[in-house]
Amino acid sequence: MSWKPEYIILIVASTLVDFGAGLAIEKADSKKRKKLWLFLSLFVNLGLLFTFKYWDFFNESIRDVLGTFSIQFEPSTLKLLLPVGISFYTFQTLSYTIDIYYGKIKPIKHLGIFATYVSFFPQLVAGPIERAKHLIPQFYNKVVFEYERVKNGLLLMLWGMFVKVVIADRLAILVNTVYKHDETHNYLLDHTGSSLFIATFFFMFQLYLDFSAYSNIAIGAARVLGFDLQSNFRRPYWATSIADFWHRWHISLSTWFRDYVYIPLGGNKRGIKRHLINLLITFVLSGVWHGASWNFALWGLLNGIFLIAQVFIDKRKKTKTSKASFVKRLLKSVLVMFLWGGSLVFFRAQTFDDAIYVFQNISIFGWDNLYELGLTASEFKFVFYCIIAIYILDYIQEKKDLYKILAGRNIVIRFAVYIVAILMIIYLGAYGENVGDNQFLYFQF
């Protein structure tokens, strides 16, 4: 994530164009004119996103392709800093004009409210990507202080902070040690077998905990202010299939791609071939949304392929089982994590070659000293137990509302939990001297 004051022009431009386009689409008297305004909105928003995020990648890819045919092409790269939150607010504003075009919502006449919708601070930088239909009406509501709502928001923020600082950032230390690849040295190549496996396993949890922590803080902050944001995660590592997983992971983005890419492409209504192609297109685009590199595209493609495989498996099933046993469910969730974790190698590795190296070497038997990967023995054990605790808590949360369980306890227990959580953030958090600067992972998108 990066910030230049002049980049504020981008969000202002995006806001003004979509505000104007929304009004113009509604006023347009013909379908053709409506389409024209929609295209203007798409062109400006995606144009900005393309320029700032994909221009260099696009040109370098062309150079590489032409290079294979011995054609020399020296692209003009812009080397621009990626503006804060551009992927998120671009999608948020796009959904507004597209929804107006399809008649799902009416445009709003108040520029200030629309600007607040685009730049609503709790979720501006890394989502959840909100829909106009859900968020804009809330700006018209009178906000009054509600004890339960504010408390709930604060607790969500506290939980998010705890998960981020105590667990995710400590996992990051090991992951970054193993996957490190800088100009001077590719440290990844120094690792094999167990190191690669544990780093990938830790990254799977780091990504979940880091991003869900941010989402919880964003949702909690909005709740304190009196706004309700849609939830972004629903215990994804207890998903029993890849399709189930994508209903639980980064929900606001998944549903965005479902509503504005997959369904407009025809979804599953135009025959099996088209259905599968639509899945692949949607997931590759979702991958590329995350970052301008072939690794992200491959990550998306791999998840698309998993889903296609699932389509075939589901088709073979004659009947649906009534209720899976705990063991069966656990095994299924482990299988999903295995597939998902494998795909994340592309997500985390810095180059395609690095990802291939991981796949080639992860199964090589070798028992590296896991306590020499950036974490001390006690840190390693601590963080490992934390992962297990989170996994168990997620399972309990599937069945019961943990917030309600806590709220039902007496004040001494509740206060003890709050105080211990705060002190754990302070004293067990991975921050300070000799610990790197740990931004939220999704800030880079």
Binding site: V150, K151, S378, F382, I426, A430
Partner: protein
């Protein structure tokens, strides 16, 4: 809303109380924090005595100035309030706090603290030392004033709380926590006064570093030494503060080995323009006026990079600074407390005391004989002084006996009846010239010994070894 605020307040009180408890219990502190000892020393010293000369600077200063030797030479109470990696900005804010507990007559400022860095530049060990310096200070108001000047907002918690700053000990240094816990159980009160001295280096530059100077050249170029605006502003603030408090400033430079730096003239010119021309104060620059005959390789740390003085080097510089202060025509004159009991209690017999003061038999002086007649001259005192780790045989020869240029050629030779390991013997003792003492009225000839007891000096002689040495 009120209900929630009360609950949040209760939670915060418990959390802050826990942090306060952990900070004061020192569970997360480092061992032997000399920065903390220095501040504790200043507070203790100031509560019992007056500080006459306060010396500000960085690690070069506390390695390069010996406050005990300085005090024994001047007779004035000296305290070194220097901090590792310290800058002048740091010195200014430290002085503010120091002035709340003492009112020195003179403040000496070492000018390598006037450099290109800013507080925002500090990182790594420099930042760690800054935190330690801040933590060791006690005046809450001054710390509040200092906080925004030294730290960024996200560093405030680290600055104010040792336990938060070192919280990673819980995973990375549990042995230290355990040690601190044990220490807290068995508190040992150390009444020894700490005067800000930190003896770190005892052996000098070795051949490997000397050859590196030859092959790679000096490690510092005076042309590239600049002073940041932040430091210049701090210098102005510091001078204003000293004026307000009617304190005389003195500026000085701790030297580095002659081959360690090149183009020092450039740096010297900048410093003189600033300190002498702009502000009208004296600069005692021991780099520009490098004493080749005294500052040999054994005076400097054996390093090619950031160089400090050894114990011997610090004696040379301490005497130079003491004499420069004393002999300066602009000096306001520091009090001579040699007759005060309080001064005597602190400095009597301490490092190099008897070089500068008469030996009187007692717990520190194991043997002394005065006015011994040698063939060419009368030796003022010959004695044995009990130092911390050895005994020192010392002879004081009046300067009138030997010419300045020949003093190192001479030896004091004695025939003495002694007891060594309980056995009576008659031996000859040869005392070479002590070049780490800057002569006052006497030249010092001395030699460290481990186990010896003088019974009687039978014969005394002052011999020019150059003249008596056999020629080839």
């Amino acid at each position: 809303m009120k209900k929630m605020l009360i609950k949040i307040a209760v939670i915060m009180i418990v959390v802050l109380g826990t942090i306060y408890y952990l900070d004061t219990s020192k569970l997360f502190s480092f061992d032997e924090d000399h920065v903390e000892k220095r501040w504790d020393g200043l507070y203790k010293f100031s509560s019992e005595n007056e500080v006459d000369l306060l010396i500000l600077g960085n690690s070069k200063t506390y390695c390069g100035i010996n406050p005990k030797t300085m005090s024994s030479r001047l007779g004035a109470n000296t305290f070194v309030l220097a901090t590792p990696n310290g800058s002048l900005t740091q010195s200014y804010y430290n002085l503010r706090e120091a002035l709340t507990v003492c009112k020195p007559k003179m403040v000496a400022i070492e000018v390598s603290t006037l450099n290109s860095t800013t507080m925002a530049d500090k990182e790594g060990s420099g930042k760690s030392f800054l935190y330690k310096d801040f933590s060791a200070r006690r005046n809450i108001y001054e710390k509040l004033i200092t906080t925004p000047q030294w730290f960024d907002l996200e560093e405030y918690a680290f600055a104010w709380s040792t336990s938060i700053r070192n919280h990673n000990f819980l995973f990375t240094n549990t042995e230290q926590i355990e040690k601190n816990r044990e220490k807290a159980k068995n508190i040992v009160v150390n009444n020894k006064l700490y005067l800000g001295r930190y003896v770190r280096f005892t052996s000098g530059i070795q051949d490997s570093i000397l050859s590196k100077y030859k092959t790679d050249g000096p490690s510092v170029n005076g042309d590239s030494l600049t002073i940041s605006n932040e430091q210049l502003n701090s210098l102005q603030l510091l001078i204003d503060l000293l004026k307000e408090n009617n304190i005389q400033p003195v500026f000085f430079t701790i030297p580095v080995y002659k081959d360690h730096i090149e183009n020092y003239d450039t740096r010297y010119n900048i410093l003189t323009e600033l300190i002498e021309d702009k502000y009208g104060y004296e600069l005692f620059d021991f780099q520009q006026f490098y004493q080749e005959d005294m500052l040999k390789t054994d005076c400097f740390e054996n390093t090619y990079g950031n160089q400090h003085m050894t114990y011997l080097g610090s004696l040379v510089v301490t005497y130079n600074l003491a004499d420069s202060i004393q002999n300066s025509p602009n000096s306001i004159g520091l009090p001579n407390r040699k007759g005060d009991q309080l001064w005597h209690n602190i400095f009597y017999g301490e490092e190099n005391y008897f070089y500068n003061n008469p030996m009187i038999k007692g717990s520190k002086v194991l043997f002394v004989q005065n006015d011994l007649i040698a063939p060419t001259c009368s030796i003022k005192e010959i004695g044995i002084v009990q130092e911390e780790k050895f005994k020192l045989i010392m002879a004081k020869v009046p300067k009138s006996c030997i010419s300045e240029s020949e003093k190192e050629d001479f030896q004091v030779q004695l025939i003495v009846d002694v007891k060594m390991k309980g056995k009576a013997q008659r031996i000859q003792v040869k005392l070479p010239y002590n070049k780490y003492h800057k002569p006052g009225e006497y030249y010092i000839y001395s030699m460290p010994v481990q186990d010896i007891e003088f019974v009687q000096i039978l014969q005394t002689n002052i011999v020019n070894t150059k003249l008596t040495a056999p020629s080839n």
